[in-house]
């Protein structure tokens, strides 16, 4: 079926495709299979799903539209793309909900069978957009996908209601032909995935082939196109989402630290997948506990950490609010603990399935008293793996809670990820306290390592180290309760110095400024990485001198950041919030850093950052 003789092959550098349909139409599955085919074909790719917060919104409505976007390219790419080149719309609601993202001249492939009065009304269309001329300027391919699927699936013997469910495979077949994806991969996958349901397997296979052949024979589509394989760094790759990468990073960190992982979490969108993934990993010695609430989750993780395990809790913004008192206790007890916050739109319940970066200041300051802790932000789905390991390394070495910031975009989007050589990952193990450290064989639980300022990790079960600690202020060294003013100031300053000192243990800021004479520094953190890199590359192609830096460590800041932000005449900070890193940078370095904001529950498009930087440079010129 890969024969496409008779059709000229058009080569593209890249293409962005969005599959959109009703929640029940299987668009996530369709997109996922297209991604796998493209990855194995050798393209670089980046994907992002967009699905409703409701489990099953009413069929055919705008609220029920589920979409999946994939960007495939013959070169290294970092974002799921800005405006799609192709939209596959399975019904009127899918067209209406996504049309505003489509640029003039782009391609719409619509399932005409779904464009009946009832569906048009549900989608809020007064007239059929396929007939009223409103789609002028787009290349529209009208395909009766439902009826062609039903016809094709007849030999399978599937009832028409079941056969109709195969129409996403028709769409997948059609787009697979259009972009010259090998059909065998998908057909093999259908055979194994539905092995126990032969009728369904047959209906899906027939629908897929019908879609593929429709493209081949109908000559409607203008294809086929091809996107050549990318020149990847050699290695073994897999497709990974941010949540899976965080979970695997924690498993890896447990192995690298030689400690059993203890995860206690309460289900919350969009973080629950980390709990799900780790719950499958008991053979790594991973214990997971679904706690009764967010507070119990962090408390149990802290209890396990006190017992010498690698204590972890995962959550999103509302859960972070609830955990803050226990995080303060962990700071006071100086025990290692890792908190993962997969940020979503807030405040309150906010936008549970949408992304935002607005928890940075809470991570930084959201506790009473002087309560500093290290903060690490992941920047791509694959980087989540390393962010988890780095958080564990710092937590163990400095006996401190560490917050990892991911977000809803990283959590669910996916990219090809080069598997690391496991034996090249760092040893991050630390020693428990083994014996007395004070005069007369006494044990001083708050006697610190002079270099790291970390206190001993003395786990119950160790003879001779019995000691009592708590959330009350402790006397330096002995850890006994102390209400003495000078001691409190010493402890406050010591805890702050311990965290600040981590700056010497992390890489200095890495500024990308090829000419060394850039007029503006674009500074980012977290998931804006891909869009910022793409925007800066485009600005440079315009001949503009733009430098770029991206922070992984948000607290403490890496060495050299102050020099960097003072060196450039203009510092611009794109953030999915109203200026949280911007505020930290301004406060720390007294520079006039300016924020570029977007708080729409959606990631930045690179074109948005590009335009904002251009506007700022013109304004400053």
């Amino acid at each position: 079926m890969t024969e496409t003789t008779g059709h000229p092959m058009h080569e593209l550098e890249k293409v962005v495709i969005r599959f959109a349909g009703d929640s029940g139409d299987g668009m996530q599955l369709t997109g996922d299979r297209f991604s796998v085919s493209s990855a194995i074909f050798g393209n670089d790719l980046s994907t992002v799903p967009d699905y409703p917060a409701e489990i099953r919104a009413p069929a055919g409505t705008l609220a029920g539209v589920s979409a999946f976007q994939i960007h495939i390219s013959d070169h290294d790419i970092l974002t799921p793309g800005d405006s799609p080149n192709v939209l596959v719309a399975m019904n009127p609601a899918a067209l209406r909900a996504n049309l505003h993202d489509m640029a003039a001249g782009s391609t719409l492939i619509v399932n005409t069978d779904a464009f009946v009065d009832r569906n048009l009304t549900k989608a809020g269309y007064a007239a059929n957009p396929l007939a009223d001329g409103s789609l002028t300027g787009f290349t529209v391919f009208e395909v009766p996908m439902t009826s062609l699927t039903l016809e094709a699936a007849k030999p399978s013997g599937a009832k028409s209601r079941d056969a109709e469910r195969s129409k996403n495979f028709f769409a997948l077949g059609l787009v697979s032909w259009m972009y010259s994806r090998p059909a065998e991969l998908t057909l093999d996958w259908i055979a194994s995935r539905f092995a126990k349901m032969p009728t369904v397997a047959e209906a899906n296979t027939l629908a897929f082939k019908a879609g593929y052949n429709f493209g081949e024979t109908a000559e409607l589509i203008g294809g086929p196109f091809t996107v050549k394989a990318t020149a990847f760094k050699p290695g073994t790759y897999t497709s990974i989402s941010g949540n899976t990468a965080l979970a695997w990073g924690l498993v890896a960190a447990g192995q690298l630290a030689k400690l059993p992982v203890f995860l206690a979490s309460y289900p919350i969108t969009p973080a629950s997948d980390i709990l799900h993934e780790l719950s499958k990993r008991q053979n790594f010695g991973v214990r997971t506990m679904q706690a009764e609430d967010e507070i119990a989750a962090v408390g149990a993780a802290l209890g396990a950490a006190y017992g010498g395990h690698l204590g972890v809790t995962t959550t999103s913004g509302p859960g972070m609010d609830l955990k803050s008192e226990t995080v303060g206790l962990a700071i006071s007890l100086e025990l290692p603990l890792v908190l993962i916050d997969v940020q979503r739109g807030g405040p309150s319940t906010g936008l549970p399935t949408k992304t935002e970066q607005a928890d940075l200041l809470m991570a930084m300051y959201g506790r009473h008293g002087e309560a500093p802790l290290p903060i690490i932000a992941a920047r791509t789905p694959g980087h989540c793996f390393y962010a988890a390991i780095e958080a564990v390394r710092i937590a163990l070495k400095y006996r401190t809670p560490v917050i990892v910031l991911s977000d809803g975009y990283l959590a669910n989007s996916a990219e090809p990820w080069r598997l690391p050589a496991v034996d090249e990952l760092p040893d991050i193990s630390v020693e428990y306290a083994a014996g007395p450290n004070g005069p007369d064989a006494t044990f001083l639980p708050y006697l610190r390592d002079p270099e790291t300022l970390a206190r001993p990790w003395a786990v119950p079960g160790t003879p001779g180290l019995e000691h009592r600690i708590g959330g009350l202020e402790k006397a330096d060294g002995t850890g006994d309760i102390s209400y003495e003013g000078a001691n409190h100031e010493l402890m406050v300053r010591t805890r702050a110095a311990k965290i600040a000192g981590i700056a010497a243990d992390i890489p200095p800021v890495d500024v990308d400024d090829p000419g060394g004479d850039a007029e503006v520094l674009v500074l980012g953190w977290g998931s804006t990485y891909g869009s910022i890199v793409a925007a800066v590359e485009r600005l440079r192609r315009r001949g503009l001198k733009v430098a770029r830096a991206h922070l992984v460590h948000l607290n403490p800041f890496p060495a050299g950041l102050g020099d960097a932000v003072k060196r450039y005449p203009k510092v611009l900070v794109p953030e999915n919030n109203l200026g949280q890193l911007t505020a930290l940078v301004r406060a720390a370095f007294l520079v006039d850093a300016q924020v570029i904001t977007k708080v729409q529950g959606q990631r930045f498009l690179y074109s948005e950052i590009e335009a904002a930087v251009l506007a700022a440079m013109e304004a400053g010129a």
Partner: protein, 339 residues
């Protein structure tokens, strides 16, 4: 968990060097003494023993024990203790809490620790008042109670801690009081030896903010007529000459009766091992408050696997079934491709 090589210790070995700072005359002292006297007999090592508390007067307890100890935050002793007990089944984990700590701010954690049957021992010091914050009513204070925060009397209906624990289907539930060291030690020992969550409510006198709350039932001369000792397999009887008993009528209601009036055969036989917590629940709220004859002792003691054991068995079984985790295999477990 019994370890035959445990060194012989005395009460003194279990007392820390910290000065005890409860108010003179506080009921907490006698509870501390009972625990410190009991510990040498439990066959546990000091280094394997951990006391975890929340916030409140009673929660100072860990500082006075020469063991591992954590004085955590208000209401959250049980989550921490749960994480510790589950990850470290070799430890002997005790939770010391109060009526505000365990039943108000930490109420959710208490019912969940009990239903999960986490292997730990909970000592709930119930003095029916907030002491550390100097005298507000608590979730066990009686209706109408006049305190600093209820100058015209409380309109809150109180919790009965034993009823609550039984409602959560706790596997071990007992009640004792701070004026009877031998009774406390007996109940504490049984709670400790129980595999799973051992829950003990201790009537504890706060002589500063709620003095005499339990005096009507715990005063030495009142005890025969006001405390109903529960003994497994025995008729529930009390009184100066054991003349009184508890009978359950045909409507399932429990009553205090003269044994002579109903005959010995009509008296309820206490069965702490009954699978259904219903009878224990009846007994738990026989008294509407500590001014009426009140059952003490072990209400319920049944066997059910504890949460940590079940989880740890799964972890062991997974390693046997799938082999010990291999990171390289995990990272390659999805679709992979070479370039």
């Amino acid at each position: 968990m019994t370890d035959i090589d445990v060194p012989i210790t005395t009460k003194k070995d279990w007392a820390s060097d910290q000065e005890v700072r409860w108010c003179p005359g506080c009921g907490d002292y006698s509870i501390l003494t009972a625990v410190q006297m009991l510990m040498p007999d439990l066959g546990m090592r000091r280094e394997k023993t951990v006391f975890i508390s929340g916030i409140g007067c009673s929660s100072r307890f860990p500082y006075y024990m020469n063991t591992y100890g954590v004085h955590s935050i208000h209401g959250r002793a049980l989550p921490m203790a749960t994480g510790l007990a589950v990850s470290r089944p070799d430890l002997d984990v005790w939770v010391v809490t109060g009526d505000g700590d365990a039943l108000s701010i930490g109420g959710n954690h208490l019912i969940h620790a009990l239903r999960r049957n986490v292997n730990l021992t909970v000592l709930l010091f119930n003095n029916q008042i907030y002491g550390l914050t100097k005298g507000q009513y608590s979730p066990t204070s009686e209706e109408g109670k006049v305190t600093k925060s209820t100058p015209f009397g409380s309109v809150d209906h109180p919790f009965n801690p034993v009823s609550l624990a039984l409602g959560a289907e706790a596997t071990f539930v007992a009640r004792t009081h701070d004026l009877d060291r031998a009774h406390m030690m007996g109940v504490f020992r049984r709670a400790h030896d129980h595999q799973g969550a051992g829950f003990v409510e201790i009537y504890q006198n706060c002589n500063v903010f709620n003095d005499g709350a339990f005096e009507k039932i715990t005063a030495r001369e009142a005890r025969p007529r006001m405390l109903i000792p529960l003994v497994h397999g025995q008729p529930v009887r009390f009184g100066d000459t054991n003349e009184l008993g508890v009978m359950v009528d045909r409507q399932g209601q429990a009553h205090i009766v003269n044994v002579a009036d109903v005959g010995e055969d009509a008296i309820l036989i206490h069965d702490e091992r009954h699978d259904d917590p219903g009878l224990a629940f009846l007994l738990s709220h026989l008294a509407r408050g500590p001014s009426e004859p009140t059952p003490i002792g072990v209400f319920r003691a049944v066997d059910r696997p504890d949460y940590g054991s079940l989880l740890n068995h799964q972890v062991v079984a997974a390693a046997e079934r799938f082999g010990p985790g291999n990171l390289t295999e995990l990272l390659s477990s999805g679709t992979t491709w070479q370039t």
